[in-house]
């Protein structure tokens, strides 16, 4: 690893100020489970690395007026153990559990998983399916965007170099919404997703309401399957229709062909995973 200057601000405010002053010659280090690996392999080391892993403002999971606030610096282990997540968004616990192994989940953060923005990120689909939003702070203040607007491309987000993602908000309307996440990798432990998927839904009068379907690892970024959602929205629950929604979702993805799996295998997986996550969410939902 090449040398760099290391700074560790003690508050969010001073981190933002330093970012403003030093960008674009500064990079942010949180859990380090992705970024330190990058730093070891690249010649393109920034002048300064700013450690935000101990900023108190980025910690904590709290109920707020407009939903559930998850600090960007919360680790995957903390998500798995949190009673509010268990109560309001248990699918996130399952998603966090599929990330890396215990040693990486103890370090890696949910904010880091999102801003690293690899297409196979396992935090993405569930949060997208729950209409999550993120708070981004820069020197001109805070802006709130939908999580899907954060994702631009592989390892590319809409964050500016002087901005920090500070919080993830699950809106009130999604709290307790029946949802399911499913990851398919080549092994049980420490595998990248070939495909991952999450669905959430309400059932009203026996029909789908506010259905959300999100898939990862099969497009440049985690995506919502808008056509598949539209196909089912308002229709009566029916296994055949769910299966067809899985097929429609395939048309919305652009999976790659690589050494882990062929494109056609990934396409088959999309249909299966979308179908399974919808059916699992139906099982969780109140049926009146």
């Amino acid at each position: 690893m090449r040398p760099f200057e290391f700074i560790k601000p003690d508050s969010e405010a001073s981190a933002i100020e330093l970012l403003g002053k030093l960008s674009p010659n500064v990079r942010i280090l949180a859990g380090g489970t992705d970024y330190l690996v990058d730093l070891k392999h690249t010649a393109d080391v920034p002048k300064t690395v700013m450690d935000i892993s101990r900023l108190p403002e980025l910690k904590g999971i709290d109920e707020v007026d407009d939903g559930l606030r998850i600090g960007a610096g919360v680790t995957h282990t903390e998500i798995m153990q949190n009673p509010l997540i268990k109560k309001y968004a248990p699918a996130m616990i399952h998603a966090a559990h599929t990330i890396g192994a215990v040693q990486t989940r103890n370090l890696g953060t949910i904010g880091g998983n999102l801003v690293t923005c690899v297409p196979s990120m396992d935090s993405g689909p569930t949060l997208v399916a729950l209409d999550a939003e993120v708070n981004i702070v820069g020197k001109d203040g805070t802006r709130r965007i939908s999580l899907t607007d954060l994702f631009v491309g592989p390892r590319k987000t809409s964050l500016k170099s002087n901005e920090l993602l500070t919080e993830i908000i699950i809106p009130k309307r999604s709290l307790g919404k029946p949802a399911n996440f499913y990851k398919f990798g080549l092994r049980k432990g420490q595998a990248l997703a070939l495909v991952n998927a999450a669905s959430s839904l309400w059932i009203k009068g026996g029909c789908f309401k506010d259905l959300r379907i999100s898939i990862g690892a099969v497009a440049p970024v985690v995506i919502r399957c808008l056509k598949a959602e539209k196909y089912l929205e308002g229709k009566k629950i029916d296994e055949k229709l769910v299966k067809e929604a899985g097929n429609i979702a395939v048309t919305e993805a652009k999976p790659i062909d690589d050494f882990r799996a062929s494109q056609s295998y990934r396409n088959d997986l999309i249909a299966v995973l979308v179908t399974r996550t919808i059916n699992a969410a139906i099982d969780l939902a109140d049926k009146d």
Binding site: L36, V37, Q103
Partner: protein
């Protein structure tokens, strides 16, 4: 430009201070500055688990934390498990069950299981396999390691 810092880490119960380059991993600091060579660096990119140490009660990969990030924290390495010549029950169980061959991965398994068994006094075999899913052994396979963990759990529960 090299950037150096003085750091103090409580390692195995003892405050240790050194002056390190900021780019050095915690694993390298433990081995090269504190001469605690029980921590083994394997893949050095967060996959093999050989370098696992316990930081503030949680097992982490010492190749994925900078030494400067560990400033002010408490670290337990494999050297901190035994009491002098008395092996920790997990070490004893690895020995009795032949839970190792070449031994390269062993410090990582021991520290991972140390942390796991401290918090789970009566684990199932499945839970143990899950707990060590971030540690790779290329010699023994995992059967004897799992047997050792089950044995150690019994001993630790009784003590």
């Amino acid at each position: 430009m090299a950037d150096n810092r003085e750091i103090t880490i409580k390692v195995n119960g003892k405050d240790m201070t050194t002056y390190v380059e900021t780019r050095l991993s915690l694993g390298d600091v433990l081995r090269e500055h504190f001469h605690l060579t029980g921590t083994h660096l394997g893949c050095e990119h967060g996959v093999c688990g050989a370098c696992t140490v316990v930081v503030d009660g949680e097992p982490i990969r010492s190749c994925l934390m900078l030494g400067v990030q560990a400033h002010g924290k408490e670290v337990t390495t494999v050297e901190g498990l035994s009491k002098g010549e008395d092996l920790h029950p997990i070490q004893e169980a690895f020995w009795k069950n032949h839970g190792l061959q070449c031994g390269y991965c062993t410090p990582g398994f021991l520290t991972t299981l140390f942390s796991f068994l401290e918090n789970n006094s009566d684990p199932t075999e499945r839970e143990i396999r899950e707990a060590i899913s971030g540690n790779i052994c290329r010699c023994t396979g995992y059967q004897n390691i799992v047997n050792a963990a089950l044995d150690a759990a019994k001993v630790m529960k009784g003590s």
